[in-house]
Amino acid sequence: MTATESAPANVVGTPRLRKEDPKLLTGEGKYVDDIHVPGELWMGMVRSPHAHAKISSIETSAAAEMDGVHAVYTGAQLADMGLWIAPLPCAWPVTDDMVNPPHFPVATEAAHHVGDIVAVVLADSRYGAVDAAELVDVEYEVLPAVASIAEARDGSATAHHDLDSNKAFHWPLMPDPDALEAAFASATHVVKGEFVQQRLIPAAMEPRGVLAIPSPAGGDVTLYSATQVPHILKVMIAATTGLPEAKLRIIAPSVGGGFGAKLNVNPDELLAVTLANKLGRAVRWTESRSEAAFSTHQGRGQLQTIEIAADESGKIAGVRVHIDADMGAYMMLITPGVPLLGSFLYTGVYDVPAFGFTCDGYFTNLTPTDAYRGAGRPEASYAIERAMDMLAAKVGVGPDEIRRRNYLGGGGPFENLETASTLVFDSGNYGPSMDAALEMAGYADLRAEQQRRRDAGESKQMGIGLCTYVEICGLAPSRALGGLNYGAGGWEHAVVRFLPTGKVEVVTGSTPHGQGHETSWSMIVADKLGIDPDDVQVLHSDTAISPLGLDTYGSRSLAVGGVAVAMACDKVIEKAKLIAAHQMEANADDLEFAGGAFTVKGSPESTMPIQAIAFGAFTAHNLPDGMEPNLQEQVTFDPPNFAFPFGTHVAVVEVDEDTGDVSLMDYTAIDDCGTQINPLIVEGQVHGGIVQGVAQALWEEASYDADGNCKNPSFLDYLVPSAAEVPSMKLGSTTTPSTSNPLGVKGVGEAGTIGSAAAVINAVCDALSPYGVTDIAMPATPARVWKTIQQAKGGQS
């Protein structure tokens, strides 16, 4: 692909270079830890070394007496100071009877996971805060820890000592239980997969951090936070602390990746705001990487059971799923809702007549879980796509054939199709996606090479894995969220305003942290208004500049926020047309708008550029009677439906049977995210997403011992892949516009992650299939693969 720098007309759909880049490439971009104010105090957290323990005593004097230490607070002292009026929020109480133990920024009586904060120090330097925290002496009465979902289910110990059970909720999605039972009763084939979605550490490259700046006389507080959700944070800080919402300003400056890990309301954010407000001094904190395993939520953490009932030909009759989900120690912002986001997708891209899903949420004494890239949907895609390979083996057909036999819409184009999981898929066309992926991957040649290696008995065997995924984007229709008990809506807000000089300012409620919204939104506006994208400035991520918004997560920005921008442009054009008609003394119906100018139909010489109209709207000397000055419009878009991107991924792995080492040889992805605004950005999103999913399949796992200690919190042991572990990827796309919004866009931020883990593990299992291996747990480490091979060989002899 060749990127272009100039500004041709109709820039949408072209691979345009990003306007964000020059700042970020030169060190000019300012992340939270880059911003300083005089007199700032550094927070240091005293964290529990035990997964579950009562706090017996806390001795703070040594820390308090240290040079440069301003204050030390225990949880009990902070509670007495009245800094908060409610616990940290969970915005998604999935059932009316969900158990939700109170969670305050600093524990008062007991710690419930390693890293739970038990005291806070404030010091005048980065290093001093760490030193002082180490001088706080805490005595604990250690309690039994619940260190896994299995232990939580067993219930011999409880994660919160005052709870009778670790179960937080039971959530069913059972549209027709009788039909489901009948489907399984009459099935020829039933396959059952039991999968572990291991815990993952999100590991955005920028650690989280905060800087709260008070205004002692004015009473307002500005919080800089490395967050994806400044707008949500503002509401929640007000609701939790009692500080007037209008006195809070939240700024997400340059944010170094999020992947869901920065969409929470965290203890550090509440501490910084309240302490800064109380003390009248700026308060800051930046997590260390090793601390992040405890101070930032983790992802996944599920045990999945999926069963497929099918007829003799492999045609699916029903899908039944049960999930046990690890909440961790507390309910964070959307912790319990994450498995539900996936619940609707366990039918995959298939025509499933009967479906049922249940989820039990459990507390453990581990770091809380919450959204991580894909949030429920990679888990769903993994389960159904792994199970489809099991079904293919049982029926005796190839993985491509079993999928083709079951595609929704017969594998052809469809619109607005209702699925057994009660959703209406906006549009799809799955057959051509598979065709394109197999062709680009060179599927026939790959199978031939695989057979050659098998026939030759080579030690390095090859596996080919397919995954046809579908996901839910465009979060979300507000009514649908209400139906799921979610505590907010799913709309997005945009303002488009012409400045007097003809330049355009866009205000968006989306909050980018690497996705290139400034570039993409400019392209949308440029095409709508017929102007140069470089004449568009996109303002975002500051609640004082963009007061209305619901932020960036769940691949929602373009399909909701970008659409709002486009719709605001339409309203700008409508108003401009009335002004043009008035000033050109023409009938508005006789005007057409193209190339940034209004022209009287049939009189091409009678034309008026929109910039001239904007200036006229600014001077307001000659506007229609009663019209407000200025050319500015706003739109709040609440989507009528979700959007459902899809695609086919093909992973090729080489498995060294002597060592168990798995290497990713080749990766092909055909993704369909509807209409593409900037293919350069689309491909970048897919690349990164794929590698995160591959990393779950092969390398990453937050590993815990029996006492609830994370064994690999640092980058020494938690294996985020480097460039050396992955190949270049082959990407292609199909385009099936969404029917859920006027741009036809679907979303692409999570697609790669949703398609790739299943493709890779299907490939590993494919490589080992001659030994009768049908499953291998993630991550498929060399030790695990080698052991599986040895067991399989032993079983054969």
Partner: protein
């Protein structure tokens, strides 16, 4: 203690604690915040700079150990507003998204090409092993480095 060095061609000095890491000296004392910190185990490479022309992770050494050296940070790469060819390549190949690993990645890649002006894709991947990125899947980073080397055809990239 007083620590002096040349940073981006200018003589710099600051009074710091002896234990101050070079990266914190650069960021907190000199105010050059383009060099980022992504980990605490010298694993991620976000803090990569050049010391006497060679790449180094500035979190692995004390400021005092860099006394008298000639340091280049990301702020010293562009020339009067004109991006360094490596920065330009990253822009043209979409080799960055959130930008946090980018300064370190650019410094490491520049050093890599100095040692090996005509690397293969595999050599670029091995050469950047010490720099982690969570956004790009490395595809476009590798493409950027090969492009900067004038060698984009042997990358296997599209």
């Amino acid at each position: 203690m007083q620590v002096e060095m040349t940073v981006n061609g200018q003589s710099m000095s600051a009074d710091v604690e002896p234990r101050t890491l070079l990266v914190h000296y650069i960021r907190d004392d000199l105010g050059l915040t383009g060099t980022n910190v992504g980990c605490d185990t010298s694993s991620c490479g976000a803090c990569t700079i050049h010391i006497n022309g060679e790449s180094a992770k500035s979190c692995t050494m004390l400021a005092a150990q860099a006394r008298g050296t000639d340091v280049t940070t990301i702020e010293g790469m562009a020339d009067n507003g004109t991006l360094h060819p490596m920065q330009q390549a990253f822009m043209e190949c979409h080799g960055l998204q959130c930008g946090y690993c980018t300064p370190g990645m650019v410094m490491a890649a520049t050093s890599l090409l100095k040692e090996n002006p005509n690397p293969t894709e595999a050599e670029v991947r091995e050469g950047l092993e010490g720099n982690l990125c969570r956004c790009t899947g490395y595809h476009n980073i590798v493409k950027s480095v090969l492009s900067a080397a004038g060698n984009s055809t042997n990358g296997g990239s599209q």
